[in-house]
Symmetry: C2
Subunit: 347 residues, 2 copies
């Protein structure tokens, strides 16, 4: 039972050389004679020496790791296929460039507190408003970062999606079908967001829905809005609530596919036919949405590409190429079987 892990000093003592020689033996072979090198390696093997990872990182000033700063707990993030796809895109770049990927959830429900505990060369920041403390903290630290699902921020690259256009397109599609009583299942802002108004992708999606409503003489005040955590079960519960009201909607616009699944769950339990009695749309176009029954009408966004570009931008920033690109990715409306004309028009 060895009490302490052997260090390079121990190896040096055992081989009768200086600590520098040990370092050279491992990292700079031609800097030392073959004989002593072998003697050092033998001693290292005998003692079971392995260079300490943290010590090396501290000296090198690099960790070969990129962090993903997450707005929710790991259990919630990894339950959501959206993040799996996103991480897969980022992972492709990590594979190519030899980086590891550190998932950094909030610490004690605080994203801010989690930052100092992540040994990384840079962060991909997911779904945080730019005027929150985290962005200022990262600026202060002088550590490179990239913003995702947020707002444009000078001083850091970002990758965004045309949320406004995509949401407008799906809302306009429903309105053209004849729907007038719409409900929106939105995503609850983070735990410490307090009363501050909407920002980022959700604000843009709601604005897009507002654009479409305006074309038909309506406004956002005419739709019911429910804000819930982004899980299937919460989509189910919110929809149950919506349908219990006096004038239930004829179409439900979910701002996430996961929420749309839950909405369909609730409607099926209430024996409400989808799409003939109520239409449901999603946002993301996860792979599951094509398998889902009814096949889900939704707004496709290029999630994997988003992850890939975020990681690419971050690694460029880490390498000191000091441009701050802002990429905007397009969306497309995927029409499937969960939407139809409203039944109640004749009434």
């Amino acid at each position: 039972m060895r009490s302490r892990k052997p260090t390079s000093s121990d190896v040096a003592a055992a081989a009768g050389v200086s600590r520098s020689a040990v370092s050279f033996a491992f990292n700079n072979p031609q800097r030392i004679s073959a004989g002593t090198r072998q003697r050092i390696l033998d001693a290292a093997e005998r003692l079971g020496y392995t260079p300490n990872t943290l010590g090396r990182m501290l000296q090198a000033g690099t960790t070969n790791s990129i962090g993903v700063l997450l707005p929710q707990r790991l259990a919630q993030v990894l339950e959501n296929p959206y993040y799996s796809r996103f991480l897969m895109g980022a992972g492709q770049v990590c594979d190519r460039e030899g980086y590891t990927l550190l998932l950094t959830p909030p610490l004690q429900d605080s994203v801010l507190k989690a930052i100092p505990y992540a040994a990384v060369d840079g962060f991909i920041v997911c779904g945080l408003e730019v005027d929150r403390g985290e962005v200022a903290e990262l600026d202060r630290r002088g550590i490179p970062f990239v913003l995702i699902d947020s707002d444009r921020h000078e001083g850091a690259p970002s990758v965004e999606v045309d949320d406004r256009g995509g949401a407008a397109e799906v809302a306009r599609y429903l309105l053209e079908l004849g729907h007038r009583r719409l409900a929106v299942l939105s995503i609850e802002p983070g735990p410490d967001a307090a009363v501050r108004g909407y920002r980022g992708p959700l604000a843009r999606r709601l604005a897009g829905i507002g654009d479409a409503l305006g074309d038909f003489g309506l406004s956002l005040d005419d739709v019911r809005l429910a804000e819930v955590p982004v899980t299937r079960h919460d989509g189910y519960r919110a929809t149950t609530g919506l349908m219990a009201r006096a004038d239930p909607p004829t179409a439900i616009i979910a701002l996430s596919d996961v929420l749309a699944y839950g909405a369909v769950d609730a409607l099926q339990e209430l024996a409400v036919d989808v799409p003939n009695e109520v239409s449901v749309t999603g946002f993301d176009d996860l792979a599951e949405s094509a398998w889902f029954r009814p096949r889900l009408t939704t707004v496709r966004q290029p999630i994997v590409t988003k992850g890939r570009m975020a990681a690419d931008f971050l690694i460029s920033a880490i390498r000191g190429e000091d441009q701050h690109p802002h990429q905007m990715l397009g969306t497309s409306l995927i029409i499937r079987d969960s939407t139809a004309k409203p039944q109640s028009l004749p009434h």
Copy 2:
């Protein structure tokens, strides 16, 4: 443009105190007078000082991070819903205990090379044979680790699944239905596994199938075996190959749900009816398998529980509770719509 991130020495100089005082001001407030403490905090704020993460970790000897040592590249791992579920289970524990999760894929196609670059307090080792170099290397380093989808190894905790029993159950089910020409879609061993024989879960699953075959007077020599990487597309390709042979199977046992999806893809393209012409079974029972058409008959294993227990065991080991539990989790056969009696019996 600050050339260098300020260090605690800079703050000490700016506040006219020693470096120790700076450390106390942050970590041990009552150890210093309120006046100088405030002066130090002011100086720190003015300079934009933040304690260096690596420096602190090196001194503390802990990273508050657990690593997941992966046998494949990140892009492949994150494409596979099996790992998403597993990571979710591990993530639940990380959330509770305040750990971050470092995904560590092979470096230059070598799992061994990746180990020294992970700054973690311990590893969850996924799907590696115990007699490979990685386990010896981790032993040498004296870093705690837990084995998953592997074999029992004294000196480290492990979480296993009753692969043999589960595979025997599904094979016996098919044989009882009357199937005799079986094919097995197995998972290709890692890139550097060389010629060494099967080990770990795959060996156990094949052994289980052998058990069932033995009950019917057959053996593993009587089934066709295809080994492919665990992606849907590879399942598709292998099945296309199997069906092109002279006497195609009437039932395909895939050792992973993902491979089963690919098998069904291929059969549908060949206009072969599932399950009436060919039965297909999977292994895992991913959520997708209940949505898949035809709904997939498969062996359920408790993936989330596996991840949770692995992380629990690891954290216990990190805290120095030196027991080495070996947990075995049960499986259950889920019979759905992708299996039926063979059609060709009358012939």
